[in-house]
Symmetry: C2
Subunit: 108 residues, 2 copies
């Protein structure tokens, strides 16, 4: 399957406040994430991560830098770099996450 | 620079009818592309490609399959697979392209 209409498939629940849709290739993976108010992460992984905010707003820290991301903002998180997302707004944030290599726990 | 506000930077012209903004990592690259009416491509490259349509509409063929992509649609093009995009609408299409590994000609 090479085309997936994200708007016609349901989000899968990853855990409380975190939902995803994704397409997984051989070397990389594109996810549409939905994070709800209160979600706050702090971790690192070997996978390189790129992204783009579709709707809503989210605070992100990448290493020692902190940003508020809004629709149209893109970001890059090198592999093995501590980072986290924090949703402070009432509305959820929807954003693209790209992982290289793919993350098994994000396969749809 | 780990965050780039695409909405605050200008598109760069790649060629007639094709414009881009991008963030390039070590292993992968995320591009926001804008293609104008009449743009039609037919090529293949070793880079794996994933994407997501932000606005507008575009026809794509991937191998022997053809689709019309609209906002919210995602796609996957394996490396070394013939594919092409064709814009038939008056309005341009804007969509995310992710390349693994990065494409030098898409570095912003």
């Amino acid at each position: 399957m090479t085309v997936i209409n994200f708007s016609k498939i349901n989000y899968k629940k990853k855990r409380d406040r975190v939902y995803y849709k994704s397409v997984t290739g051989k070397d990389s993976q594109i996810c549409l994430m939905k994070l709800e108010k209160g979600e706050k992460t702090d971790h690192s992984h070997e996978n390189e991560q790129l992204g783009y905010v579709v709707s809503g707003e989210v605070d992100v820290f990448i290493g020692n830098e902190t940003y508020t991301l809004k629709p149209g903002d893109a970001y890059y998180i090198p592999g093995n770099t501590r980072h986290g997302f924090h949703v402070k707004t009432e509305n959820p944030v929807e954003y693209i996450e790209v992982f290289t290599p793919p993350k098994p726990d994000n396969v749809y």
